[in-house]
């Protein structure tokens, strides 16, 4: 944009100068000739105007505007998506929609960068990111980020405009809802050797996600992530990145009800009812990730990548049953939690969960790409088979495959997903009629 404005200004100035000179020459044909001093004065005036315009342009070049639009058509196998797995809850077999309409305003001034990043679609306008980044050392070696921004996670940090599949894995969406959160993060990214650049991110977040109501409580969630490339050499056609991350946090449960799974059944628990805080719904997970990049085939690069996440999340639970009433003893034989009769209206349920995803991607030059993805998410690892009685406890694997073609700024993606549900007493079957096909057109600027 800066270059275009600059060209326009230069052309305008040249045009102005030409007209001025032509005008001076015409005047010269009349009564009195234009002196060289007058022409010089005109040139100086134009130069001053150019300097002024340059000053304004200098400020404009600090502002960078980028973004992308994803318009798509989705087709579902049936009108309602079983167990709420569809992207949208309203029943429809197929629909056109603006999946994402992103515009990023980035202003860079010296060592500071500020970003405003709304998402605009037919569903409204949502502010996705708003943060300030302080570059404390050159070459992004140490940065502090404050505001609403991506949590540190591989699949979260990959922009949806660059991701090979249309959506992130189920477990990523569950463990990192909204992808972004409000908080503060330090990133240390030193260059130890040319091909060895480990990255450490440590952040403190509210925990609820960027678009959730703020969690005004003393409990902040801590996320730490360390990634590093194996030092195989910059020239090596095989590059391997590995990483691990830890999420430790929670949300206070102020209601009388906190549900957990004990012996395959949902049970009502809570701490001693002496204060407002009745318990802490743990948000905890540990992730291991890896990416292998292979530049071995003449047709293009190959990527194999994946991540395993295991932990727990508090979610809205179902009403407690009478079976949950009683005393549960801990492994040491003592009463570690007290069970009371009478469930509260809005219980919170903490579930132990586990999920993973894996991608296989083959590029064909820079113009096309094929991808295969499998992701699995067990929403409650303490229940299986007939014990599963709610959609919040079911395990689902999704096989996705498709491809993209890239034409200049445009990308066209065809993606098909086949979810497979674990056998359960909630109505799950091996393969319900819930496949989804997406045709997406993306324009990035």
């Amino acid at each position: 944009m800066g270059t275009l404005i600059r060209k326009f200004l230069v052309l305008s100035a040249l045009a102005g100068l030409s007209i001025g000179i032509a005008h001076a020459q015409q005047e010269g044909d009349g009564t009195e000739p234009t002196s060289p001093e007058e022409v010089q004065g005109d040139v100086e005036t134009i130069k001053e105007r150019m300097d002024l315009a340059e000053g304004t342009l200098e400020k404009l070049t600090q502002l960078k505007i980028s973004g992308y639009i994803q318009a798509e058509w989705q087709h579902f196998d049936q009108t309602t998506s079983p167990q709420g797995r569809a992207l949208f809850s309203d029943p429809r077999r197929n629909a056109f929609l603006i999946r994402r309409g992103r515009i990023k305003f980035q202003h860079r001034s010296s060592w500071l960068t500020a970003v405003l990043y709304p998402d605009i679609s037919e569903r409204g306008v949502v502010l996705k990111e708003a943060y300030v980044d302080f570059g404390l050392l050159p070459d992004n070696e140490l940065n502090i980020t404050v505001g609403s921004f991506n949590r540190p996670n591989y699949e979260v940090e990959i922009s949806s405009s660059n991701r090979e599949s249309t959506e992130r894995a189920q477990v990523t969406r569950a463990f990192y809802p909204d992808e972004r959160d409000l908080g503060l993060m330090a990133t240390y990214y030193p260059t130890i050797a040319e091909s060895f650049t480990p990255k450490l991110q440590v952040g403190l977040f509210n925990g609820g996600g960027a678009t959730a109501a703020s969690e005004v409580d003393p409990y902040k969630d801590i996320i730490a992530r360390l990634t590093f490339p194996l030092p195989l050499g910059a020239e090596s056609p095989v590059q391997i990145d590995l990483g691990a991350s830890l999420y430790h946090g929670g949300i206070p449960v102020a209601t009388d009800s906190l549900l957990e799974t004990v012996d395959g059944k949902t049970k009502l628990v809570f701490n001693d009812a002496t204060g407002d805080l009745r318990g802490l719904g743990n948000r905890k997970n540990f992730n291991v990730e890896g990416q292998i990049f292979l530049d071995l085939l003449p047709i293009g690069g190959t990527i194999i990548k994946g991540e395993v996440m295991t932990g727990s999340r508090p979610t809205a639970g179902t009403a407690a049953t009478s079976a949950s009433v009683g005393i549960t003893k801990g492994s040491d034989g003592k009463d570690s939690i007290r069970i009371v009769p009478g469930a509260a209206a809005k219980p919170v349920q903490v579930r132990n969960q586990m999920g993973y995803y894996g991608y296989f991607i083959q590029n064909f030059g820079s113009s096309a790409q094929l991808a295969l993805k499998y992701d699995y998410f067990d929403r409650n690892t303490d229940m299986e088979g007939a014990q599963v009685t709610s959609s919040g406890d079911v395990a689902v694997g999704v096989l996705g495959f498709g491809g993209s073609v890239f034409v200049g700024n445009a990308r066209i993606t065809l993606w098909h997903e086949i979810p497979t549900t674990e056998q359960d007493s909630f109505g799950g079957a091996e393969d319900l009629k819930d496949n989804k096909t997406t045709v997406r057109f993306q324009y990035k600027f």
Binding site: L137, Q369, F401
Partner: protein, 276 residues
């Protein structure tokens, strides 16, 4: 179900395969303004001997070229600075390769002053002071009593980034630096301004005086030349690079091989840069 799946898979593969393997005879080159003249000379010379290949060269700065490479809108990126680790990571995530870096020439960042300027030598420390705004008068570096008018490049320029890292030690430029869109504009401004100073590629050094550079304040001044740049004694010399997304094949590989061949390197010398 299985039939539908097979049909879908076949359809996706066929469409993408057909598109990906369409013959390409146009090579796009984008990036460093410092290298534009060199890249155009390479393209002209190569096309004159290989009529089936069309090469389109544009500038915009190293940063712009690298962004274009990551976004897939150019085949070759010219860069007067190495790619950063973040840029390599972005390339790796998109194409499965951190990119292929090819050193194609050497250059000395040349300090331009007006031909009438009495100052012929500046140290790295003095240059740092001038560009950070702590030295503002030519008399502070042995010249006349006149305000120093400082010209530089935009932050999308690789020369800007290299100068910032190797002369300013990573610190920011001062507020008085007037940024110009290309090296030619910097040379032009200095040629017309008796109190001006600028920096840029050696290949553009015409109509101005080239200033010697020393590593220390009292040290010997060194002019950029074939010898001083090749033996590393010129303090602010650098490599010029081209970057590709993956290991090149076909017409792209032939072109890159030609650039680093003796014939391609002779173009480097003719254009005023320094061959490998």
């Amino acid at each position: 179900m299985r039939k539908k799946l097979t049909f879908l898979l076949t359809l996706i593969t066929a469409c993408i395969g057909l598109y990906a393997f369409m013959p390409v005879d146009v090579i796009t080159v984008k990036g460093s303004d410092t290298m534009v003249i060199l890249a155009q000379k390479w393209a002209e010379t190569y096309q004159s001997k290989n009529s089936g290949v069309s090469i389109r060269v544009t500038g915009g700065g190293s940063g712009t070229g690298i962004s274009a490479l990551i976004n897939g809108t150019t085949d070759i990126c010219n860069s007067s600075r190495p790619m950063t680790k973040t840029e390599k990571q972005q390339l790796k995530n998109r194409y499965g390769s951190p990119g292929v870096e090819v050193r194609v020439a050497k250059d000395g960042i040349t300090i331009y002053v007006h031909p009438s300027n009495g100052v012929s030598k500046l140290s790295i420390g003095q240059l740092k002071g001038i560009y950070m705004g702590t030295i503002t008068n030519w008399s502070q570096v042995g010249g006349k009593n006149a305000r120093i008018i400082v010209y530089g490049r935009e932050n999308s320029s690789g020369t800007y980034a290299f100068f910032k890292e190797h002369v300013l030690g990573g610190y920011d430029f001062g507020g008085s630096v007037q940024t110009l869109p290309g090296t030619a504009a910097v040379v032009n401004a200095v040629a017309k301004d008796p109190n001006g100073i600028g920096y840029g590629g050696f290949g553009y050094a015409k109509g101005i005086k080239v200033c010697q550079v020393s590593t220390t304040d009292g040290g010997a001044g060194i002019m950029p030349s074939d010898q001083t740049i090749n033996n590393g004694s010129y303090p602010i010399s650098r490599y010029l690079y081209i970057y590709l997304k993956n290991r090149p094949t076909g017409a792209l590989k032939s072109y890159v091989d030609w650039i680093i061949s003796a014939e391609g390197q002779s173009v480097v010398k003719k254009t005023g840069y320094f061959p490998l």
